[in-house]
């Protein structure tokens, strides 16, 4: 199935929740609203003609100027097609609905995005830092990140 057909199916099913899409790029993507991610991903996984059973990668993004996002790279092992789903959120409301109940692999990826970007995933079963120590300050992959001066009395190198 081509990305355009997938977009058409999603538009008829969800309407308003599909914000925008870009089809004339190397890897076409569809943008959805952050509060509907779980609903739409569940549909993408279970609909017989789509069957996106494999969440390949989930990446947090900081686009600068307070714009954040999450990018999902989905593949179907059954139909062998792929799609990129994006969702955008602003710095003052960094809330995205978790998809870890849809794909188990999202659990750790979402924890990583929480750790490095500070994106909050609603209804995530275990939202803790994963790569950094629990008492680290700030989210290092943010574009406006400043490294803390001391950590437990040790000077942190620039």
């Amino acid at each position: 199935m081509t990305p355009q057909e997938i977009l058409d199916i999603l538009k008829t099913k969800f309407g308003e929740a599909i914000v925008e899409s870009k089809q004339d790029v190397q890897q076409p993507w569809i943008c959805i609203t952050p509060d509907k991610t779980k609903e739409i991903c569940l549909f993408l996984r279970d609909e017989a003609s789509l069957q996106f059973d494999y969440l390949s990668c989930l990446s947090g993004m900081d686009y600068g100027n307070g714009n954040f996002g999450v990018v999902y790279h989905l593949f179907s092992m059954v139909h062998k097609h792929k799609i990129v789903i994006k969702t955008f959120c602003a710095k003052d409301n960094l809330q995205v609905h978790s998809v870890s109940s849809v794909w188990g692999t999202a659990n750790w990826h979402e924890r990583e995005a929480f750790d490095l970007f500070g994106i909050i995933f609603d209804e995530h079963p275990d939202l803790r830092r994963i790569l950094l120590p629990d008492d680290w300050e700030g989210n290092p992959l943010r574009k406006d990140y400043k490294v803390q001066e001391f950590y437990h009395g040790m000077r942190v190198p620039e």
């Binding site: 990668c57 990129v84 794909w103 188990g104 692999t105």
Partner: protein, 396 residues
Amino acid sequence: MLQPPTLPTNYTVKPGQIKTSTGKTLRTEEMIINMGPQHPSTHGVLRLEIVVDGEIIVDCIPHIGYLHRCFEKHCEHMTNYQQVIPYADRMDYCSAMTNEWAFALAMERMLKIEVPERVEYIRVIMAELQRIASHLIAIGTFGIDSGAFTPFLYAFIDREKILDLFEMTCGARLLYNYIWIGGVSHDLPPKFIEQAKDFIKYFRPRIKMMNDLLSYNEIFVKRTANVGVLPREVAINYAVSGPQLRGSGVNWDLRRDDPYSIYHKLQWEPQIGKGEMGTVGDCWDRHIVRMREMEQSLNIIEQALDSLPEGNVKAAIPKRIRPDKDAEIYVRTEASRGELGFYIVSDGTASPFRVKARGPAFVNLSVLPEIAKGAMIADLVLIAGSIDIVLGEVDR
């Protein structure tokens, strides 16, 4: 075929069930124990927090990040695109060639660079040699985890010969910086083809010897069959990849199913676990998939060596890399441990705006709590060994 061992059906002892000879009831409770980060069988600095009920694991919580070296931050802040390659080397240090290749491939697709055919062949040869070297470590250390020390030494003797081949090509034995964006750093040295063919001739009987010594050894089979079963649906739901996914009986290999480079021109078969010694997706299946993949890799190398074309390996290396503004790409390759993907976003400058590395070991490890629940403590070591994690890639 061996019979599966009979396990006691009632694992949990409820509080108040155990009575002493005088009729007093004993209090029992769950216990939390800590394994790692300094533990020989966690293959690096991995800490597992285990909740046990007697010998049975009730819950297992992995704690990672002890080896975090800010790969993604370095990519954004301190490097040009070309300078990412040595950092990518250091992610999965047991399989550096495949890491470099994944990043180079992603950039080539983004910049639409056509790589000379000789380069593609050299890369396939290097990646498959690397796959054998990496699988040898996995198999050797898995042998140690199960109590067999000798196969580890044999595996390292053979790995050494592959490292010699790498050394004569690019001078390095572990972290190569060999595969560059658009080409490779050196052409093959004059005697490489001869020596590689000698290695193939030498290594085929060694695989058989390793199978006799380890894979079909009765103690080893009893230790690994029916242990740590990962069902097919769980594996796909957790996006497990590589030998671990194929061990669960899923016929999926990115070299065939999302083809890149020249793999479509070569004859080889993905190997899947069939549950020959126990259940599909147990530790033995994951082990035997690696053993059989090494033979397939030898086939690939043999074909590639025979049809190696001539050409200039540095012809397509770009001097200046400036991708389009807002160009982005996700490229996935079949590394030794599974799907290694890079998601790269450009902002039009000489260094990446965002690089996300989707490491196979990171994702494969995330399924560990699912497999470990209900297993014995002694089996946890085996299960972690059969996943074949490299903490450098888990933590990045």
